[in-house]
Amino acid sequence: MDNDATATEHAPAPTRYGCRISDSRGQVVIHPTRDTYIATLKVLVDDTFVSCTDLTAVDYSAYASRVGRPTERFEVVLNLISLERRERLRVRVAVPESDPTLDSAFDLYPGTEAMEREVYDMFGIEFVGHPDLSRILMPEDWVGHPLRKDYAIGRIPVQFKGSPS
């Protein structure tokens, strides 16, 4: 890691691959911006992070705590793995609510094809440059994006036998 004993309170925020990094329970997380996202991934691919094991998103709009709440509504989260160095790295990219788009990582990690479709399906984040951005789990004509926090959980009214009215 770039920051060790020399880092002090006033030192600039630690960076790696040109991005801000943070530590989450001992796991390394880097935070590129939307503009540097693909460029950062390219650097990471060259730095032996050849496999993207997971891509998902989080909708922070109902996040209760004010401390760790990100500024933007959505965040796309990638989990990369370096088979050579046996290392994991997490990438978190903020995606604003007003313009929920992000460049597709498909050209660098073809395995994200289905995962980006899932995020599109569940969160409505569009991936620019994705070859076939369509719903993957929900039916084609479904309205809404289920994993968004403002998407209510469905309820079926139950009438118990013999209950008053």
Binding site: R25, C52, V58, P110, A114, L137
Partner: protein, 449 residues
């Protein structure tokens, strides 16, 4: 084959998911199927599209698109494949999923960390204990108690996880045999799996969907006589596995059906994010148990089984031999099983013992609170991954400090592995399609979640 549709555009009424006939295929589309994985340029991909097929030969009335599934016994549930066929040859394949989607990740946001186990255990229903394990490990990491789990709980988790790997692979052998036509293998595989499930029933009370591994440890200690039961399984299995070798591995028809079928290269597998036996069949020795050890896997000896051709036979052989390796690990666990607590004595996550509830009002309140309200988990996000029988199963949890996960995402190995199907099937025979699906061993409950 349930449905037969000619290759007229729009005939399937599937909107964007529709697969168009080869004659109107753009280079971009071919690129999507293979090009990007092989790192090809668009022009190269365009030549590939016409490379092995003469475009004049494959006119619209000569190739056809058929739907295999979703109701097809060999699709292991409700997987649907659109296959473009020219005679017996598969030109292209597109898997379509979502038929079993029940929104389990959304449900998970509404269940407490205490209840979450019941939800995740139903995802990959063939290795429920691995699902619970990864969920529990993620929650423990968020709580910061992952180092404090008692030794006995850790070794019990390993024991259950390995036995689960055996039962899952045994079921694979059964279904793989059935798909290819070795129907007696189906009965043998189920029979052996049942031995393991009987042990699970004795330990956890249920054959499947145990919710036994919980944040903080396990639900109960091992019952009396468990060692004899495990030894009984271990003594019985080697002969049976040797039988399978005679029945299948050494049998020419079996080899003929699997060897060279559904080949995938290491480069493709890594690019697609495939893990587990699929990645290992291509020669990449990657097993999280060895490469990123969790629990006490660095204390036990086992080999990572690796194939060399990346075909269906390698994947079969890897799983068969992984059962043997798991048995080695289980034997070691029997020697090492320590005594002590089976769950952490942390009042925050552990309910009070049943006997205390009768005599202490505080214990009763505590018990009530922990099961109704749950326990609060500090804010943060964490990703934990372990090696399930099908590959890397990961759990990503975001907590905002409440007793329910703010977001829970399971990285399902089958979901990612299914993307390998188009690459494996390309230019194969339609009869081999069944063998290929079977060799990927997808669990649709986990694919669709």
């Amino acid at each position: 084959m349930t449905d037969l549709i000619t290759a007229t555009p729009g005939a399937t009424a599937e909107g964007n998911q529709e697969m168009r006939a080869r004659s109107e295929l753009t280079a971009r589309e071919v690129m999507r199927e293979v090009g990007a994985v092989l790192r090809m340029t668009e022009t190269q991909a365009a030549t590939l599209a016409t490379d092995n097929v003469d475009p004049t030969e494959v006119s619209e009335d000569q190739s056809m698109i058929i739907n295999m599934g979703p109701q097809h016994p060999s699709t292991h549930g409700v997987l649907r494949l659109m296959l473009e066929l020219q005679g017996e040859r598969v030109l292209r394949c597109k898997p379509i999923i979502g038929y079993l989607h029940t929104g389990m990740e959304k449900t998970g946001e509404d269940l407490t960390f205490m209840q979450g186990g019941t939800n995740v255990t139903r995802m990959d229903y063939l290795s429920p204990l691995n699902n619970e394990l990864v969920f529990s490990m993620a929650v423990e990491k968020l709580l910061g108690i992952d180092e404090d789990i008692p030794e006995r709980a850790v070794w019990m988790r390993m024991l259950l996880s390995e036995l689960n790997r055996m039962s899952s692979h045994l079921l694979f052998l059964a279904t793989n045999g059935m798909d290819i036509g070795a129907v007696s293998m189906m009965i043998y595989g189920w029979r052996e799996r049942e031995e393991v499930l009987r042990f699970f029933q004795k330990v956890t009370g249920l054959r499947m969907n145990h919710n036994f591994i919980r944040p903080g440890g396990l639900a109960a200690d091992l019952p009396g006589g468990w060692r004899d039961d495990v030894l009984d399984i271990l003594d019985r299995l080697p002969d049976r596995l040797a039988e399978y070798d005679v029945l299948m591995t050494e049998q020419p028809i079996w080899r003929e059906r699997l060897q060279g079928v559904g080949v995938i290269t290491a480069q493709e597998a890594v690019a697609l994010g495939a893990t587990g036996p699929i990645l290992r069949s291509t020669g990449v020795a990657w097993d999280l148990r060895r490469d990123m050890p969790y629990l006490r896997y660095d204390d036990v000896e086992f080999d990572v089984i690796v194939g060399s051709y990346g075909d269906a036979f390698d994947r079969y052989a890897i799983r068969l031999n992984e059962i043997r390796e798991s048995m080695r690990i289980v034997r070691r666990i029997l020697d090492r099983m320590p005594s002590g607590d089976y769950r952490i004595q942390d009042k925050k996550v552990t309910p009070p013992p049943r006997a205390r509830i009768d005599e202490s009002m505080e214990a009763l309140i505590h018990h009530f609170k922990i099961f109704t309200e749950g326990f609060k988990v500090p804010e943060g996000e964490v990703y934990v991954a372990i090696e399930s029988p099908r590959g890397e199963i990961g759990c990503y949890i975001v907590s905002d400090g409440s007793p329910k996960p703010y977001r829970i995402h399971m990285r399902a190995p089958s979901f990612v592995n299914i993307q390998c199907l188009p690459h494996m099937m390309r230019d194969g025979l339609v009869a081999d399609a069944v063998a290929v699906i079977s060799s990927v061993d997808p669990v649709l409950g986990e694919v669709d979640r």
